[in-house]
Amino acid sequence: MRRALGFGLFVAVAVVTLAFLALPIVGIFVHTSPGNVLHQFSNPVVKDAFVVSLKTSLLAQAAILLFGTPTAYLLATRRFPGHSLAVTLVELPLVLPPAVAGVGLLAALGRFGLLGSSLSALGITLPFTQTAVTIAVAYVASPLYIRQAIATFEATDPHLTAASRTLGAGPVRTFFRVVLPLARGGLIAGLALSFARGLGEFGATIMFAGSLQKVTQTLPLAIYQEFAVNFDASLAMGAVLVLISAVLLLTLRIALSWRSSPSTRSPSLFGLSSSS
């Protein structure tokens, strides 16, 4: 009896928690009619913002994938002095107030920034360009991908890579023929997460790239601007963002859980895996 009670408590707490996490989202949708949401897509501001968001997000994610993957792999498979520092570095953007991150980007890449002079020497000015948006998004979203990637790579059986080596494949070939295919699922999941996060990026973007319609004004920036002039519109855009992210994450999660599903096997009561 007491036990059943204890367990009930667990469930209760969980329900409360999930409800709490769901509420704000429900709130947003309550305040906007679906009609309103659709109607937003005829609003030029929204349209432009949407395009900018999509373009920059895709570029940013491509960059994250390209640069983050090898980084994650090395961090996962090699131990070197300063390893912990490197991993912390990867996590920092996650915990930096985006606005501060933006200031940091300015301080680093702005025209008075560390690399500013060298960049302008090459005739490049980053701040307030679309490139700046991409950079801001990439900076803020990267940890979500890289951390996931590290975890995934750490989980791949070292025997398989070793086998590949003894079969005459160098580290690189091994990476592409064995490691990547096995890590695919985890990497995709991580990328989806960082994509969603990137879509929602605000603070760093406004600081580093400003908010110029058609150029640097992403959805979150548009939302913020519309607050003043058209409150409903901003709420509706918020709803749009939530929808995109949620759908993205959900489909992915389901797709993956279809692949390696513990739920497909298991008459077992207490999560005993098949090895039990």
């Binding site: 059986d157 025997h159 398989l160 070793a162 086998a163 590949s164 080596r165 003894t166 079969l167 005459g168 494949a169 160098g170 023929r177 064995v178 295919p181 096995l182």
Partner: protein, 347 residues
């Protein structure tokens, strides 16, 4: 056929340092308890682990040399390593696994190991025996100068094991490649290898043919590892001039050897006979006691009396009508005992 030489390699491990020299010309087995460093030896040869000292040569090629700072990368050493868990690539088909080593004779190996019919299956759906065949095919497909097998039979359940072992036995006989295999089962080692090395805590305790190890175990550990009973005791004077051994439980034992101090005797089960009456044969050593356990298998039975386990035929078991708890005499010839170094047993 080629020859592999490990010269005084040293690998620092968590709790001890692996240190050994070894020559592999024919089929050699390393046996030892779990954690002895067996896999590490294979990984070192394959180039997956870098020793702190020593050198590794395969025929004329030098694969590793600490002094001269030579280290050939695993992909450039011609070794065929078969992992304990086979380490087949789960995302590739059997055929793709075999073809992985970039050679085009895949078919040849698929046929040779009778896995042609499985070529499109993924490893996940194979039985233990089939996996092993695929792993072997894959390793040989790269045409290695030396074959390394890590616990080739450990992943199999006891009854497939017998068949697979026979299979492997024939295969190795057929191959013209020096093979180093690792196991923690002396029986498997005896079945598969011409020469056996017993490794404990990173050091070779003894090497020789299986028969040698059984005949003259170098130390108690080797003895127990090869299946002997160990009797602990002390040298002592027995009557005039002759010496004998007083076991810890008091019984006197005579041997053909001689010495003094604490000591360990090795007696093999098949040298021990059980009788219900004390045998009055001076050449016999006798341990009296109650039967603590009887195990029948096939036409043989293992009977445990005090420190001794005897292996007798089921017929004699029946004839003597032995039951657990019964008082009996376990006896063995003086010649049937081997005095092994008076070091205490490990493991």
């Amino acid at each position: 056929m080629a020859k592999l030489t490990l010269d005084q390699i040293a690998v620092p491990l968590r709790t001890f340092q692996l240190e050994l020299s070894l020559e592999v010309g024919s089929t050699v087995a390393l046996v030892g308890p779990s954690g002895a460093g067996k896999s590490t030896v294979l990984n070192t040869i394959a180039g997956l682990v870098k020793p702190a000292a020593g050198s590794i040569r395969c025929d004329e090629e030098t694969w590793f040399d600490a002094e001269r700072g030579v280290f050939v990368r695993p992909e450039d050493r011609r070794v065929g390593l078969v992992f304990q868990d086979y380490a087949l690539f789960p995302h590739l088909t059997v055929r793709q696994n075999v073809e992985y080593a970039r050679r085009h004779h895949a078919d040849e190996y698929l046929d040779r190991f009778q896995i042609r019919h499985l070529q499109d299956a993924r490893p996940g759906s194979l039985s233990g025996g089939e996996r092993q065949r695929v792993a072997l095919a894959r390793a040989l497909a790269r045409d290695p100068a030396i074959l390394l097998l890590d616990e080739p039979l450990a992943a199999l359940d006891a009854h497939t094991k017998v068949d697979v072992r026979a299979e492997l036995q024939q295969l190795l006989a057929g191959l013209e490649i020096p093979t180093l295999l690792v196991t923690h089962d002396f029986e498997d080692a005896a079945a598969l290898a011409d020469e056996v090395g017993v490794i404990v805590e990173g050091r070779l305790r003894q090497t020789g043919t299986p028969a040698d190890l059984v005949a003259q175990p170098a130390d108690p550990f080797v003895a127990s590892f090869t299946g002997a009973n160990l009797l602990h005791g002390e040298w002592c004077a027995t009557g005039v001039g002759t010496t004998g051994i007083r076991l810890d439980d008091g019984t006197l034992v005579s041997t053909t050897d001689d010495g003094d101090g604490a000591i360990v005797l090795a007696v093999y089960p098949w040298d021990v006979t059980i009788s219900t009456t004390r045998p009055d044969d001076s050449a016999m050593n006798v341990v009296a006691g109650a039967i603590t356990a009887i195990t029948e298998l096939g036409n043989r039975a293992r009977v445990t009396v005090g420190p001794l386990t005897a292996e007798i035929t089921v017929d004699s078991l029946r004839r003597l009508g032995l039951r657990p708890g019964q008082q009996v005499y376990a006896s063995f010839k003086a010649t049937g005992t081997r005095v092994v170094a008076s070091r205490p047993t490990e493991g």
